[in-house]
């Protein structure tokens, strides 16, 4: 009896899958587009900022503790504003950059604003892991500061940077869902519009499963690539 009911339920889920897939596939692509574009721009801002947070330390390459503490405060302020509020506050900036404040591309601007300070912190912590002795050795060889940053600090930190990138990408993926709630695109928008406003629980759950798989996939690739590039062991 019970098995029959279970079987029937499974069949109906199975039959519903193509419909759900067609409904959400556009959202999956939008989410990936928003996530990766935002991550890329966040890194364009975050890497230089992360480098500055490291090399301006008082015992580091270019000691300027005052500039560093200023940057530190700015990063902390940006990080302490909740994303939802930041997104609304960023609307004028979004209009300026993209021309509109709604839609897929418009979501990228607040996401970048919200995530680059976080990216800068992950970059900072990866760069700090580089052995100061190696930096000193490069200095003793007559390397200039630019060479030390590019060829020693960034190069030696690659495994940590890749791990951090996976972390940042999945965090930004999470933010895209929130952006979807207030006029952004992607899976978040679909989950809210169908699952919440139209009581389509099946769509909601399907979108959640897709998000989980995306996060798993990104994390898996990140960990693998990081391990592949790490020559400190083996």
């Amino acid at each position: 009896m019970f098995l029959n009911e279970l079987w029937a339920a499974l069949v109906s889920v199975w039959e519903a899958l193509p419909g759900l897939w067609n409904l959400t596939i556009g959202g999956v692509w939008e989410t990936l587009y928003i996530t990766f574009a935002s991550t890329a721009f966040a890194y364009i801002l975050g890497i230089p900022l992360g480098i500055m947070l490291v090399v301006f330390r008082k015992d580091h390459l270019i000691p300027s503790p005052r500039t560093r503490s200023l940057l530190d405060v700015i990063v902390n302020i940006l990080r302490s504003v909740p994303f939802l509020i930041l997104m609304i506050a960023a609307i004028p900036l979004t209009r300026l950059v993209v021309g509109t404040s709604i839609g897929t591309t418009a979501t990228i601007v607040p996401l970048v604003v919200a995530s680059f300070p976080f990216v800068a912190r992950t970059v900072e912590s990866s760069l700090l892991e580089v052995d100061p002795g190696v930096i000193e050795a490069a200095q003793a060889m007559g390397a200039n500061r630019f060479q030390i940053v590019c060829k020693v600090i960034l190069r030696e930190a690659v495994p940590g940077l890749v791990n951090g990138a996976a972390l940042a990408t999945t965090a930004i993926l999470g933010y895209t869902a929130m952006a979807g709630a207030i006029g952004g695109g992607g899976l978040g928008a679909i989950a809210i519009n169908y699952g919440y406003y139209r009581f389509r629980t099946d769509v909601l759950w399907f979108a959640i499963v897709e998000l989980v798989l995306l996060v798993q996939g990104i994390q898996f690739v990140g960990t693998r690539v990081s391990r592949l590039l790490d020559h400190r062991q083996r």
Binding site: D131, G133, V134, E136, A137, A138, Q139, A140, M141, G142, A143, N144, Q147, K151, V152, R155, E156, V158, P159, L229, D230, H231, R232, Q233, R234
Partner: protein, 345 residues
């Protein structure tokens, strides 16, 4: 030995350290790490700088390539004051003053070959040329088969060999060794020291070694400076300083801290070299003078290719017997120095 000293004056001074002081400001006041250091390191020297940890030797070697800047004084390399150099000049100077470290400090994400190419890369040498040079250097340090390995796959001794090859890449005139063997086992230390000596002889590279390990000085150094509490306590030819340590700091290092001279007793220190090591000096003295003596400590070490012995003996309480023993020793071919129990430590 004597003719070596005459010749020494004619060898050009490569590194001239004049009155170097280094003061670190701290919250509890100033800490003087170096207090008026004068050293002349000549071309081809293997100059050992030895001292207890915290004596300031690490700061001193970092001043030689200006990784650390002295508060006062002058450091001339090839008659040019490195403390007055502009940034570009300084970076260029550092290519001719290479350095190796206790913890090797290799780039962990580059292969052995990549590490050796690194200094050439930053000096702007074309890649193909750099690779040729790197392979030559691998041969010098006998690691041809490890070219593609990463530092994590190497033993400590192999890592230090890579570091040496990397240091030699830019054809430096000076090699600074900052406790380069302190992280290695005794056997590996031997092979690294042999390699350094070979490099010194074959390429004429001047080597400055800082260490807290006596055997390192004994095995390869030609000159030694003993640094104690930020000052040079004693300096000179290794064999001379070993035979007649003048200062408490030197004795502490050479004879070990365990040596204690009993207070109120008359003691003598006898130093001898291989020519007389084979004569049973003390036994003969006891037989000849008929006085009992107490041997407090003794050691024989190989210094600069010569056997050097030290012995500390306590003279009998009877002044006449003691005098007889001293008179006897004076006739022997050994250096005798009377020390009393209240020797300043």
């Amino acid at each position: 030995m004597e003719q070596g000293i005459v010749a020494r004056e004619q060898i050009p001074v490569l590194i001239d350290i004049q009155g170097v002081r280094k003061v670190y400001p701290t919250q509890v006041g100033e800490v003087v790490a170096l207090d008026g250091i004068d050293l002349r390191i000549r071309q081809g020297d293997i100059y050992g700088i030895i001292g207890m940890s915290g004596a300031g030797k690490s700061t001193l070697i970092r001043c030689i390539n200006r990784l650390d800047a002295p508060t006062e004084g002058r450091i001339l390399i090839d008659d040019r004051d490195i403390l007055l150099m502009k940034r570009r000049e300084l970076l260029k100077m550092r290519r001719s003053v290479a350095m190796i470290f206790q913890q090797f400090n290799l780039l962990m994400q580059r292969t052995v070959l990549g590490n050796i190419c690194f200094p050439l890369e930053i000096s702007g040498m074309p890649r193909a040329k750099a690779l040729v040079r790197a392979h030559e250097l691998l041969e010098i340090v006998s690691l041809q088969d490890k070219a593609k390995a990463y530092p994590a796959q190497l033993s400590g001794g192999q890592k230090q060999r890579v570091a040496i090859a990397r240091a030699l890449a830019t054809e430096p005139r000076v090699l600074l060794c900052d406790e380069a063997t302190s992280a290695l086992d005794p056997l590996t230390t031997q092979s690294i020291l042999a390699l350094l000596q070979d490099i010194n002889r074959r390429m004429g590279i001047t080597i400055v070694i800082i260490t807290h390990e006596m055997p390192v000085i004994r095995q390869i150094c030609t000159r030694v400076a003993i640094i104690d509490d930020g000052r040079i306590a004693e300096k000179g030819d290794v064999s001379k300083v070993f035979a007649h340590p003048k200062t408490a700091a030197a004795r502490r290092l050479f004879l070990g801290a365990q040596e204690e001279i009993p207070t109120g007793k008359r003691c003598v220190r006898i130093a001898f070299t291989d020519t007389d090591t084979y004569e049973p000096v003390v036994a003969n003295m006891i037989l000849a003078c008929g006085v009992p003596v107490n041997i407090l400590s003794g050691s024989i070490q190989r210094v600069a290719g010569q056997q050097r012995g030290q012995m500390l003996i306590e003279l009998p309480d009877d002044p006449k017997g003691a005098q007889r023993a001293l008179d006897y020793l004076a006739t022997q071919n050994v250096t005798v120095e009377e020390v009393s129990g209240d020797v300043p430590e």
